[in-house]
Symmetry: C2
Subunit: 212 residues, 2 copies
Amino acid sequence: LVLLVSALLVGFLSVIFTLIWVLHYREGLGWDGGALEFNWHPVLLVTGFIFIQGIAIIVYRLPWTWKCSKLLMKSIHAGLNTIAAILAIIALVAVFDYHNVRNIPNMYSLHSWVGLTAVILYFLQLVLGFLIFLLPWAPLSLRAVVMPIHVYSGLLLFATVIATSLMGLTEKLFFVLTNPAYSTFPPEGVFTNTLGLLILLFGALILWIATR
Amino acid sequence: LVLLVSALLVGFLSVIFTLIWVLHYREGLGWDGGALEFNWHPVLLVTGFIFIQGIAIIVYRLPWTWKCSKLLMKSIHAGLNTIAAILAIIALVAVFDYHNVRNIPNMYSLHSWVGLTAVILYFLQLVLGFLIFLLPWAPLSLRAVVMPIHVYSGLLLFATVIATSLMGLTEKLFFVLTNPAYSTFPPEGVFTNTLGLLILLFGALILWIATR
Ligand code: HEM
Ligand code: HEM
Ligand code: HEM
Ligand code: HEM
Ligand SMILES: O=C1O[C@H]([C@@H](O)CO)C(O)=C1O
């Protein structure tokens, strides 16, 4: 229980830090084809793809779900993962649109290659999850065979998304922290490094809870 | 067995790609306080901290160790992890020395914060491993309690090191690929993005093998 509460707290703090970052240190949020629109990218990914996905993964371990039926639990798990997927898509639309308006090429960075792969495999995981574990027609034997793969690929995707977000933060900080430079320890750099550590800690807590 | 061979192959390929990268696209290797010295940083980390650590993690699963005694297996596991730790330290000396010669501040980036934390915790894991699992005095009950923590923290550190290397690659590519820019898909960028995907695939294979 202490673990669950700390995970929720650290995850919540990561979302708050991301919001403070874009609203206080960056330009804020908007849908203008410029920096305001780009800023939805980190906000939606940390909120949706990291925080909500993390909760979806441990939802079977939350005490208040123990009194729910298995079907209800599965629906919550599937529903949260669906919300996370939708927010991730909007986050990608934001950054592609920003790149197109500014005539910046798409999909050149390692961050974008790993990130897009993760989003596509996440959708595959979601569709397979629905087909095999929610719809009633899959035989139990199929479910039993697929379950270890589902758990492994779910946790691997979650870890990959965390790694992607750390790459994205790194890129963005080197882009925008030029004067004063990132290397001179400006408050924004220290603040955002702390955000990176929080995201990593959230990931570590979720993985610990999910593997107990 | 197919999995083991693929993991070894992908890991080996990652090391080769790193060497091709620094020898062909970058300046090569040397200990001159300049770029040649920096280049030891990625080479030693991909070779030692990623490849050797990965092998150390799955050493208990290799068929040729099944005929060895448990003590011999533990010694190989501990020995490989010790080599990985030493290579990581030399890699850190290389980059700190490079920064000092060039008057670049140390420890400002998220990459360096996560990386140094991982190296320190790795040493802790190593020392605790020796004390609890190799020296004969620890009671079996203590070993049984610590083992799940040892496995979790070992796998988490491995994943964190992979994430750190992807951040490091990202940084380096934005530093050096200015003309032509990283965003114009120069061969070095595409080659090194592929290296990043190989490292990630190696990590995924090791984690799959270690959790079967
Ligand atoms: C967590 C999951 C994330 C995923 C799946 C992801 C995915 C992507 C993708 C696919 C692109 C390419 C867009 C294009 O080429 O038009 C991109 C770009 C970018 N992302 Fe993310 N991102 C994530 C998190 C973040 C975070 C937290 C940041 C922090 C600010 C960030 C910063 C950037 C930046 C600066 C770019 C533009 C440069 C580039 O193309 O690499 N990303 N992201
Ligand atoms: C991309 C979306 C998804 C991801 C990342 C994901 C990930 C995971 C993970 C990591 C676990 C292990 C949780 C634990 O051990 O506590 C899990 C369990 C499970 N998931 Fe998913 N999942 C996804 C979608 C779905 C969908 C759509 C369904 C359909 C209902 C589903 C059904 C299940 C079931 C039945 C379990 C086993 C729960 C148990 O331990 O009894 N998943 N999932
Ligand atoms: C895999 C484990 C890795 C660890 C633990 C690690 C650790 C570190 C540390 C602690 C620093 C700070 C040095 C200082 O401030 O003087 C650093 C710097 C650096 N590393 Fe790594 N590194 C890793 C992998 C890589 C890789 C694969 C690259 C790819 C080229 C890389 C590129 C860099 C760069 C460019 C710097 C200088 C900029 C900065 O301080 O962030 N690193 N690394
Ligand atoms: C930083 C160094 C270390 C790391 C990252 C590490 C990591 C790991 C990991 C991930 C596993 C699980 C492997 C699997 O399930 O196949 C493991 C198992 C184990 N480790 Fe370590 N380890 C380290 C150091 C040590 C040391 C110094 C010892 C002392 C001998 C040790 C003893 C063991 C033992 C006895 C097992 C259980 C093997 C079994 O499944 O029977 N480890 N280690
Ligand atoms: O939640 C479930 O767990 C089982 C099975 O996959 C476990 O092996 C199953 O069929 C579900 O729908």
